[in-house]
Symmetry: C4
Subunit: 507 residues, 4 copies
């Protein structure tokens, strides 16, 4: 068959099982029978659409070219005859109706006063699936929350009586100007939250002179996002390294040709993390009729999960000896994203890389991995001792990401030696709730906070933010309280304030 | 037009827009068209009263002379014809009625046992706007609460078997007698909480022989507050330095002439902080009809906010080199209010100032600024090391403010080297709930607590409170717990006490 | 008039005011007009019974001889004519009826498994006034709870493979045998909780071979409590020192004559603490008709409070130079109760006293006084360094009290150097809920716990409990967490466990 | 009478009291009159079944041979005549019906994502008695929870850029292969949770190549559990040492003959702990008609408890000098289970034992005993210093148990020097909720987690897990917060997020 052939929906509908599985995406008919076991998301979800139109499900979680990239051309069997495709009837559930009502009741952006607010609104207005995917993290989500908590263990030592009439919080990242020491870091599947996907970030970043890091797993295609950039707008690329290095080479060299200014190689995800909140949501979303009986084992799904882990998509074999190859295939600055101990930062420096992102993947990979902020302190100390480096450093730049919600968080990281800080989830929530405009409002909030707080710590520019402006002596302490004495505590009767007359009469 | 002219309300009503904006205050008609963009509180609130009588809104948040100070004389167009002024009809809302009922049910002062109680009552009986303004602080309000929390990290080491039949907790501040080592510190907009405004503090301070620090942003005029003082009553002045130094010079020299005994120059507010709780309340109070559509950007308000930040009202350019000028224009003792690190306290000492207030503006400016109490310890240690000073010190006095609720808090600060402690919000709450009498009751509670606790730590006078009477070894630790294990914790079933028979039968 | 005179209730009723105030107690008529201002509990409560029979109110909070001790003989005017006395009609309130129902539903003692349980039951079944008096503590009750909390910062280092077939937890206190290293410490006003008052402790102590410390402020008279002792039963006396040393001398020498084996002089209460929970309860119990108008000042009550503070009842002038006098008037071992720093323990040792109780009066005096357990560590360390003492020490014995609920708490204190531990509130709660039998059950629980835990730490006797059996390295840390990030925390969505089918269907 | 005699239920029913007490178990009639006071569970429970068939109560908490082991052969009086035995009619209570409904609604195993989930389900679906027995721990259950909490004070220092395509988490315990560095540790009374009892563990362990430690107090008989093992399947034995060493010798030598590969002698339980949650449940389960009157003392039960403590069942006299005897009677490797300080681990090493389990019996014995994880660190440090040992060590193996819920917990213990980790309660909950299949699912979860997390910390095998991969610097800190300031805290008004329109309208 040729891809120009027109096929009736009725014919497609026959191929609705594991033995012969056709699906329709964007009007084309594909034979995915052989691909079922290679699908990173598992075969189950494809089989649900076997013989049917899967476009609506496919759209938000794949870039448009995903299917043609992964399937041989001959697997495209042709076009479906218009209006004949079998669709899964999606009834708008009561829960969905309630959600849409909440969308209509979003407060105006002027009432969104800080980045926390976006998350509060987004939790209420975005599809549950998107919320589960964006907000989930590994295991007990300790590291996920620690990322934010770590900032609360660092305090300021502000200077006074400095002329702060003029303050300027712009700086440079890898030599490129940015209006703030932050960048929009790579996060996957942007269309889950908003139909425009990562384009919202591209456009908002342009308007605020901020750098966007394009994710490998974007919902939009790489070229769409580059095409949407303004002239001169700087973009980086986050890279998952494929087992097939040719695929990776093609991606990297294409990116360089398209003008990408920095390559951030993810090194903290040899296997994609299990995120139980996300998994839990999937069970709940399952069609109840498919639910297995209690006690039935799930050996198939399990092995499927294991299969995914060694899929070619992310190479668990990526190692230090691969670095020279990367230097050979591209002139872009190379940065490792996901460094979690000073020894590895030192190795990266010694291998001539341009920098490292001290990151734990937003707490989505290894639980109890330390926060980037805490690693930052040890990296600065040890690379100072062992290589005489001072930070922030133009030749070897340190970045951190995870848990940032305030300009003061960023200022703390800068004081401790970071060049800039990556922010991810807050912008995901902003665009899920308000689209591009939400992202811009979020950036404006940060601008306002930077102006305010630079003045208040007594710094005129980013360079004036010095190490002695913070007290990070408590940063390394990981306090977990001794379990409480429940019997004693429940006996203790809290003190009461003086009360209004009437309240007392009620007693 | 002359200011003696009588103008009908009808005529005033015509000038109700940005192009021509007249308002009525205290029976006078003012043309504020050109002033709109200079108003520290923004143009929006003035425009709401354009063409109308704004007295009721103006009153609690401006001293009576504010308008004549800021407007050229010719902007006063005359008097409004009696009973013709257009007023905004303020309907007493249900919420307001409920509040007034709560006012009627305030418990008698005898039931107010501590300073915490005032806050509990005030929260219920004061206008929401006042509560939001007084209670709010910067960003996540961490520093605001840390100010109080810090006192809980200092413990006593009491002495016994001292003859404490007679105890005397009076002392001197800048050479002036005070019945307790505290003063009423400067807080703005007193009339928001009580119609008598800061006069409540002046009168209560007189009756208890306490020093009041008059705020630049008082609701009452400076002269009113000085006029209300008893003969010999000591008052200080808190100063925001104006970009126009002539304005500042006039204020300072006037204060000196009126007998002010100390000038406390605020140095922790080059820009007034964003207090989100206060901002949130304003949105809620907004006329619903004016609310923008969801998603609409608010660039106007933002830029307005930025304009305010560089208004002439508070000069962000104030710097160390300004100090000699202050010494030239006044003989009053000069104290910097808002010092937050020992290096700056040392600089103040070396420049010959009389003291510093270790303060973070009640947590209303930079979040994560350290508590005054913690800075006190480093200042005493470093100025001891570097300049051989011992504290409390008559020549260079240290004050702290923020978070104080108990006489024991004050005693801790004194033991650590402070001359005295400023108390602000508790008295605001006391006067909001009970007026002058509330403030006096609050002062009496402190007197009782001082008597009790001086005896209990084994000190006869303030001078007997020695450094070894406190253990401040934990003061510097900033503990933030590792995030909890929610799955484990929710599985844990609390132990239960033995239960009454009936309760068990219900199970 | 002679005390033998019979007076009609009608005549008594006339003397019902401040100018002439008679009251009836236990059938006798007393003229208390001149005594009104000297009454430690204030004049108000007496005036409530002016002209009436006050026995019921008097009984639980005074020893029977209190009135004859404090009044000159001629103030007893005679006996009241039977059945004519005016009584305050006490209606059994609904709340009281509910309480009595709860009393009937007390669980059997066999269900009371630990000392915590007594408190849980007592809180429900005892009169609110008693609960407020017993449970209240100073200021914010931080020290009160810290007393218990401190034990939770000490951990065991148990030894194994010790033959613990036989374990013996008896020991000696001041040379006297006791079945456990605890004693029942002095607590006031036992009849508030149970009509037999402190007799419950005397009798229970006898049955368990435990030492009772008789309080100065017992509801029972001293002689009653001594008379109730079994032959050979050891009792101590807690002493408040009177301004009139003759009164004190009389009490001390009488006690010695009656066989008291140790005199515990209270040194942490130069003035009785303000306990706000107790004060709060009193307001609530007040007759509503007497309540003042909101805002009315209470200068009279306040000054009355101050008057009490300098009453002769407890001498705030007690000092180190008084010690020789005590040694002159008695041969009983002298122990200071309420030592709170090692310097004072050292002084007590150097003055030849027999020991000290490291105590903060159950947290009822100075808030933020350290726990006895923590002071114990510094005392052992410093007296070891400076005087070469080892603890537990027979010549100079250390005791602690406050916060003990488990035998493991006691074992910790013993390991750290204490001879024994005083327990107060738990026995108050036990006797309030179950009388003498409750106290005995509480003692039996401790016996069981001692047997168990001695075995489990690997000690055969109290002497085998060595310093290395505990890890007290965290005892000195006073952690107060940095205030939480409320916006972040409320956004965080807790992880959920797998759920039962039905529960999910409800979503 | 001979044991072959047939006895009518009617005749048995006559012997229904303390003087003559017969019971029926599995169709046999036993005279237990003389045994009443020796029954480890007390006489009360037997007397409840005096003259009746006790099989149903007996079954889940005794191995089948318990009764013949403990009674002389002549006490078996014969068989009961079929269908004549008097049974206690057990009505299915409403609570039980509700429980059975919950059992029917268990989620499928595929929704159980982690070991926590089993506990959540088991709490809902297992009999209350079983839950109380399994979940309870000593005193205030501080150590019980600390066991888990301790793991949260250890953080990872993951390595990146390691080729982790292949990861292998199998290892050896006492020389025997295991698919993971864990074993199923001994827990008592498995039939309380599931009718198959410990057989579930035997079978699941076989399928996952895991070692099971058989408990002395199994519900199944030792031989049943050994018989159920697959050829080559490795089992250990946990041993309570009997006062009668002949009994112990018989058990040990029988175990060795049956192929047991390691003998774990319990040394932390010279007396079985008081577990109040379990005791509380028993009171609640009691027949209400038997409940004593409030206040009635329980001296009988108490003394019974004491009797149990010195029963022959567990010898409190076990001591170091017994070790040579054990070495004489068996060649099995000897491991002490319940070591809680390094000094005792050193002694075990010096005596030539094969290893120690650093354990506190799941927090069921001494409260405030340290977690095994914390003891592990001191043991590794001190045995390194004093004997030059490095860990993990094949000659002297260290194990820990208690509180483990995640593979990351196990990896932490291994990094700190443990050979393997024992897991108990999670498998009890898994089998209570889902039987053998549940246990296997739990093991599979761990397998998945090991694969994931080995990759994420950058280790290919268990041997690659090095000490520098964890930061345990906070492990030794036992933080208990200073009690909170309730008045201040309740005054503080939390910040609020931006809200949906409607929500605001409701205010």
């Amino acid at each position: 068959m040729s891809s120009k052939k027109v096929i009736s929906g009725k014919e497609v509908a026959v191929h609705n099982n594991r033995e012969s599985c056709w699906i329709i995406v964007h009007g084309k008919v594909y034979d995915v029978t052989d691909f079922l076991d290679d699908h990173p998301g598992g075969s189950k979800i494809i089989l649900k659409y076997a013989g049917k139109d899967a476009t609506q499900e496919y759209e938000p979680i794949h870039p448009p070219d995903a299917i043609t990239t992964h399937l041989a051309p001959e697997k495209c069997l042709g076009s479906v005859e218009p209006d004949t495709a079998l669709k899964i009837e999606v009834k708008v559930s009561d829960l969905e109706k309630q959600r849409l009502e909440r969308v209509a009741r979003r407060p105006p952006l002027s009432e969104v006063l800080n980045l926390h607010d976006f998350e509060a609104i987004a939790k209420l207005v975005m599809p549950e699936k998107a919320w589960a995917y964006y907000s989930s993290a590994a295991d007990d989500e300790i590291t996920n929350r620690e990322n934010h908590t770590a900032y609360h263990r660092v305090w300021f030592r502000p200077r006074i009586m400095i002329d702060v009439t003029k303050v300027d919080w712009s700086t440079k990242i890898l030599g490129h100007h940015t209006s703030m020491p932050i960048y929009i870091t790579a996060t996957a599947l942007g269309k889950l939250g908003h139909p425009d996907g990562e384009l919202n970030f591209t456009r908002a970043a342009a308007n605020h002179n901020i750098i966007q890091m394009i994710p490998t797993l974007a919902s939009c295609s790489f070229d769409e996002l580059v095409d949407a950039a303004q002239p001169g707008q700087v973009q980086f690329l986050q890279l998952y390294v494929n087992t097939n290095r040719d695929v990776t080479k093609r991606i990297v060299q294409h990116a360089e040709r398209r003008g990408i200014k920095g390559l951030f190689i993810t090194v903290d995800a040899p296997q994609l993390g299990r995120r139980e909140k996300d998994m839990r949501q999937k069970f709940e979303a399952d069609d109840p009729s498919e639910v297995k009986n209690a006690g039935e084992s799930d050996s198939v799904d399990r092995s499927q999960g294991a299969a995914r882990a060694i899929s070619s998509f992310i190479d668990p074999g990526l190692q230090w000896s691969d670095i020279p190859w990367f230097k050979k295939i591209t002139k872009m600055p190379l940065i490792l994203k996901g460094v979690q101990r000073w020894e590895d930062a030192l190795k990266a420096y010694d291998l001539g890389l341009t920098g490292v992102v001290l990151s734990n993947h937003g707490g989505r990979q290894l639980d109890f991995a330390p926060s980037g902020l805490e690693v930052l302190v040890e990296v600065v100390e040890q690379l100072g001792k062992k290589r005489g480096l001072k930070f922030p450093n133009e030749k070897f730049q340190l970045f951190v990401d995870g848990g940032v919600r305030r300009a003061t968080d960023v200022i703390k990281a800068v004081a401790l030696g970071a060049t800039a800080v990556g922010i991810g989830r807050p912008f995901l929530y902003a665009h899920s709730a308000y689209g591009q405009e939400g992202v811009e409002h979020g950036l404006q909030i940060l601008q306002d906070e930077f102006q305010m707080n630079l003045r208040l710590i007594g710094a005129n520019t980013i360079k004036d933010i010095s190490r002695d402006m913070v007290d990070a002596s408590g940063l390394g302490s990981h306090v977990v309280s001794v379990p409480g004495d429940r019997l004693y505590d429940s006996n203790y009767e809290s003190m009461q304030h003086a009360q209004l007359r009437e309240l007392k009469a009620k007693l």
